[in-house]
């Protein structure tokens, strides 16, 4: 499936929506609303509320995360914000500040 990639030298200030997976290596500010998976790569900086099916964070993310399936915070990530998802994984080494809510019905 075609992936959308926001490259490392790109800055987006605004809203991203759609229904395909998104890989972020650059900087995104604003809002992200997808029906697929969002990956925030190691060097990425995201200051946005994220609403997606699945979210995987290895970089920096500031904002609330809502996922209908799962959220995974990888080691080395830095996340500030609240997370709402039926399944939430936080790996060893992840840096997270915020609240976690798994009391969500899996859609």
């Amino acid at each position: 499936m075609a992936n959308t990639v926001i490259g490392p030298d790109l800055v987006i200030d605004g809203e991203i929506s759609g229904d395909e997976s998104l890989v972020i290596q650059g900087t995104v500010k604003g809002r992200i609303a997808l029906q697929e998976k969002v990956s925030v790569d190691g060097a990425a900086v995201v200051e946005a509320d994220v609403d997606a099916r699945a979210v995987e964070v290895s970089g920096r993310l500031t904002g609330n995360i809502q996922a209908s399936e799962r959220v995974e915070l990888r080691g080395e990530c830095r996340v500030v914000g609240d997370i709402r998802a039926p399944r939430i994984l936080i790996a060893d080494g992840a840096n997270f500040k915020g609240s976690v809510d798994m009391d969500v019905k899996e859609r």
Partner: protein
Amino acid sequence: MAAISKDSGAATLIGPSIVISGKISGDEDLTVRGRVEGTLELSRGLVVDPGGIVKADVSAKSAVISGVVVGNIRAEESVELTHEARVVGDITAPRVVILDGAAYRGRVDMSGAPVAAAPRPAQATPRAPARVTAPARPVTPLARPVPPPAPPSRAPAPSAPAPAVARASVQRAEGRPVPPPAPPAPPVVAGASRKKVIVRKRK
């Protein structure tokens, strides 16, 4: 010098179902297959693939348009409209290529730019086109402060993107380019300050 290194793998791709509204800026090649609204500022190449829709003012080093662009395009090097392109807006670039089949309406400005068929690496003044094409519109008009929307609508458009686009789409809607509505009364020079100007739309 490769204007657009399409094969530099790290380039950004905006997929067909993605909608981005807002401002995009960056220092790498960008390929749009989805939809972008707002503004787009790149220091590298822009490619709008067939199916891509850009409703934005675009500035880039070079642009290859095969999709839809509504907005003004300004490039340091070149703009190419391929046979699938549908573009409404003004284009400012030293080299502008419009291929057979492209649908385009707008103004083209190639002036004041280093016209080199093969751009040399020593492109000393990449800013030159920008300066030349920024029309000599008085930003500080006459004595009385005039609200920005007031300047006559005949004004050269490249620096006033929004009105140009709006007008362009109006023209499209009517099928034929029509001259813009009667230009508003020219800015009144200080002195005739008491005069009341009523602009009424004729039915």
